[in-house]
Point group: D2
Chain length 363, copies 4
């Protein structure tokens, strides 16, 4: 596979299947000298945890994170930080109903084609549970970023065709859908109830905003800030699109509107608008980084669907059990995690852009 | 910088500024035994070349590609393939008007912040001319993919608010905007004329379609097919968004609609629809890979804009010279190139997914 | 740190300190379809285990390996394989004697200079215990290599100035020093007893021989077979040199002697001699791969030494506790592990060297 | 191939065959703000150039380096630096004598086995001429290192069985063999004359010494300083071994002798001896970095040898033309280059080891 490692200096490597013994991540390249406790990480883990409301699966996961290495007396030492979650809720279920069948909208068929074998229990490696390792690593990246005053914050901007009309970021923790607009939350909630009644699911959109970025992060020409964030976020299950600043709407605008004019304010270069979403030429431009990611509806639905099994027989399937009718609210913290990990890496990579910086460290 | 290399097995490393001596690319990891001539590459170079119609800059670039290594008697040898373009049209212009000023919508300010120095001639490394190296490498990747019957094809699907309503791929070479719909071309053409009259520019959308992909390409969980393509395409200048299959619209649909049902046809697994855009769980699913990328309007416009210079003084600027009022038509072949390079790499990476494949080579 | 990951396709990432909660490794990129059990790995772990004879430390480590992911019903699935060892023998000792002092020949001073913090318990990350993760990963690589008939075998060729004079590989498991010559073992044993009496330690040399390699493994010009093996083996603690084939003696020979002449045997190209040690131009040449690595004496000795502490005070130190008077016998399996991991990676990388191979998989 | 790129932050990618159009290198990740001219590089190129004395091949190579990008007004800009050498002396010779035959001690057979095709003209990619790209990149790395007072210096310590007995580094440029001992030079010179008379060749040993390294460079546990240097140097053609500090002799010594004791001098931690060769636990320890690399005799000899051709026929061969009877003197600057490139990379990687350093740049 070899695709389970990510990053250049701040590097992560994840492992684990939905119903294996454990999931986890090794973070290699985290600078020494950062205060870090299991609680720092647990806070984010709990935001991803299912079972906390009626829109999440009922699986009880303790999701209790353990730091196995790389931290000594509460401080990172510069050596690899290993974080692990034991899988405690692996009931010995009967999987005979899905072990041979290819669920529509799922990775089952692709895994079989690629590897010739598949751990079908709970979706194996393609389960949303895989993202718990991302969230754990993201919490460490977040601590690093906080030390230089960078803040990453995501929220649900749309569920189905219900879109947040005002954005009051503080509100996002006041509702289980993580929306920054209580009005939109009420409507989205009704929409979800309806979908659940129909044994169906819906999609949505998450927006992420990063403040405090110094200008110049991102490494042209391939590892640009927006390119790296795109890869990071599009590597999450169920994402189908991403856009920065005005995004797809920029394709309909004119240059005279889309260009953000510069001006001076208190001796600093500022932009009058932020159509760019905080990125110019692939580098942070001093404005807030703003992007949105689109998520498809949860593929696991109880409604009857047509499909085939691995013996080439056409079959009908109703996916049993309680599944999230929407992945978006739980994905919010995963978007933050992937963003934080990517920014931590680009922050460290940018350190050697100038010889002046090199001298600042060594002379 | 260290961001000018891309790929894992099929690796490229590019160099060159707009007005430097030359631009080029080294391709490391191209398999031995592929027929390759300069003409194979020149064909794609010519599609990117400016000056061929009224919507492109008037700069005359010969863009004549030279193969410096890695090919012997018309066949790739497995050693690095170096491709180079000399810059012939570097008139010793006067750049005093832009050397200190930060053009809105451009990377000038970010480069200065990151590196403390900037080759301002023609935009230096952030010039669209940088993409010529991508196109050259893409042509080699395309040859590789053709050997296993994979085809990459992109076209302009929208210019400003004019969208192609029918898609007849053959038509795309019949008009300078690379649109697959002659009707839409007429309207888009009028839109561009109007923008040019206003000293302004417009954006657009490119769609790309890949056929012939075996199922299973893409390396979960971070190097997924869609994640890798997203990075590749979003690393091009002026891109502001990307989406696969139903993309952002999927966020408004329901699972029962969005899931593509499987069926059997002539002993093969097929999908009844392709809402996924050919990717499930981050791997190719046997359907055509379909994605769209949004481009912002060209930032270089003759209209007057407000900005600042590097001494912190507020200034007004009108960008002289003739600039493309739209980047989209010339970006079509660059989208194909980045897609082909990414797929070539994932194709080679996928070879070792199964021990059976390893034995097929060595036993 | 970011130096705890290794490999390109068959990638490993290790973690763990001597007295932390656990040590382990994630293997990303192991092909699917290989039979693998914890026993396969435990066999190698037991060869590295201390306490099995009078020349090893008395620490009781169960070193019981656990497979956390990537294996389903006894078969690798292509997803990351996580292997973990819990640290069970972390007695809450008093480390006040070494927490501030820089032990001569150890990494203490360098860790403090690099990171500004150091987990001093049992040497932290620089403990020989770190190699257990390498051995675990090596056992998996060994299984992979066996599938294509490649065999890796190392043994002690010298201890201090006692050198094996005959090599009977089968003998190496008949003595605790892993020597292929029982006569040499007797002498080496006496040498060690003497060193221990003097509260001192000795060094030695390990030889490694790999059979069954197809010709052509290794990736010129930087990732040559010998270059990669050198890095792998020289990354083990206490190694001070490595040489291939005739090695340093080749510097004293003439070309007419050193060149291995080719001849035909049963339709195959063979070499009359193997001065090269099985590598030409950085690729396997069809002969056995042979190399030797030199190890310095264990730096932990009970003899009194002069040193300084982190407050810049000169101090005297006698390192308490029982330490291995020699690291070589326990390092034999680590040399095999690093060699196997490197070869597994190069084997997979070599698959795409020829377009013919690519077609063999996809057409 | 994919093995022609090297480095993590300071990354190089090389290309070129002996008789192709050109050779060169792209350096990606060199910090902005370093003064750099073609002359800085040419100085090292000239040290590698053949034809300057009777022990070098008579090929006249101008080896005139050209900077194609990444430098603006004499200063590096942080963008990729491309350096190129045109091949001017590619006489259209007749290669029919070697195009099918496998020269003993050469890579011919391995290239054919790996790639199924081989550019046989002058050895293609396996020619020593390939190292010119390394030297060019090394000259840039050297400039970077000088900015923080790090100096890399190599010399010939042995030719055949003639070993330098005293080391006066200044002397190395006083003789064509690059020996730091004029007495040894006289003897080595006689030895070479004799070998040439016999149509034979000899090997030798190069020693390299680096001063000014801060303690703590090197990234445990795989990218240790000595591991990285080993890979870098062992990737040069003809190297058969490498050792640090006491090297292989350390295997015969005792811990009480081999450990370097620390002491204080003018408020700084110093070592009384340097048996370690300047590296402890894989990091620079504040002492001079010292290592030696063994080179085999030039494989191209005029003496008759037995071999086979690619049709499986046994053949006799005498390699025509004048070849260096020894590669060592010309390899001295290549050893320096590979060392400098490796150290530049480790220097930049080490910048993010501590959070304090990160804050020093960003707060």
């Amino acid at each position: 596979m070899s695709g389970s490692a990510y990053g250049n200096i701040f590097k992560i490597s994840t492992f684990g299947e939905s119903h294996g013994k454990a999931l986890g991540v090794i973070i290699d390249g985290c600078p020494a000298g950062i205060e870090l406790t299991a609680e720092d990480i647990q806070r984010d883990m709990d935001r991803r945890k299912p079972g906390s409301n009626k829109y999440g699966t009922k699986r009880q996961e303790s999701d209790s994170i353990e730091i196995l290495s790389g931290v000594f007396e509460g401080i990172t030492t510069g050596t690899p930080i290993a974080l692990m979650l034991m899988n405690t809720d692996q009931r010995s279920r009967d999987y005979s109903d899905i072990c041979d069948i290819y669920r529509p909208g799922h990775a089952d068929y692709c895994y079989d084609q690629k590897y010739g074998i598949r751990d079908y229990r709970g979706g194996g490696r393609s389960s949303a549970r895989e993202t718990s390792a991302r969230v754990a690593a993201g919490a460490v990246a977040r601590k690093l970023l906080k030390e230089v005053n960078i803040d990453v914050c995501a929220y649900t901007i749309a569920i189905g065709n219900v879109r947040a009309e005002s954005i009051d970021i503080e509100k996002r923790f006041d509702n289980p859908l993580c929306m920054p607009d209580m009005n939109a939350y009420e409507k989205a909630s009704a929409l979800l109830d309806e979908a659940m009644k129909d044994c169906d699911s819906v999609g949505g959109i998450i927006e992420c905003c990063v403040t405090g970025l110094p200008a110049g992060l991102g490494e042209p020409v391939f590892d640009k800030l927006d390119a790296c964030i795109s890869k990071a976020v599009m590597s999450m299950g169920a994402t189908k699109g991403i856009e920065f600043g005005d995004g797809f709407k920029a394709s309909e605008s004119r240059g005279s509107y889309n260009n953000d004019n510069f001006y001076m304010s208190e001796g600093k270069v500022k932009k009058k608008t932020n159509h760019s979403g905080g990125v110019l030429g692939g580098m942070s431009d001093g404005g807030s980084l703003i992007f949105r990611a689109a998520f498809k509806p949860t593929p696991s639905i109880a409604k009857q669907q047509e499909t085939v099994n691995k013996y080439g027989e056409e079959k009908q399937i109703r996916i049993k059990g309680r599944h999230d009718p929407i992945v978006v609210p739980r994905a919010v913290v995963v978007v933050e995690a992937m963003t934080a990990i990517t920014l931590a890496d680009l922050l460290l990579r940018n350190m050697s852009a100038k010889m002046d910086n090199v001298k600042k460290i060594y002379l």
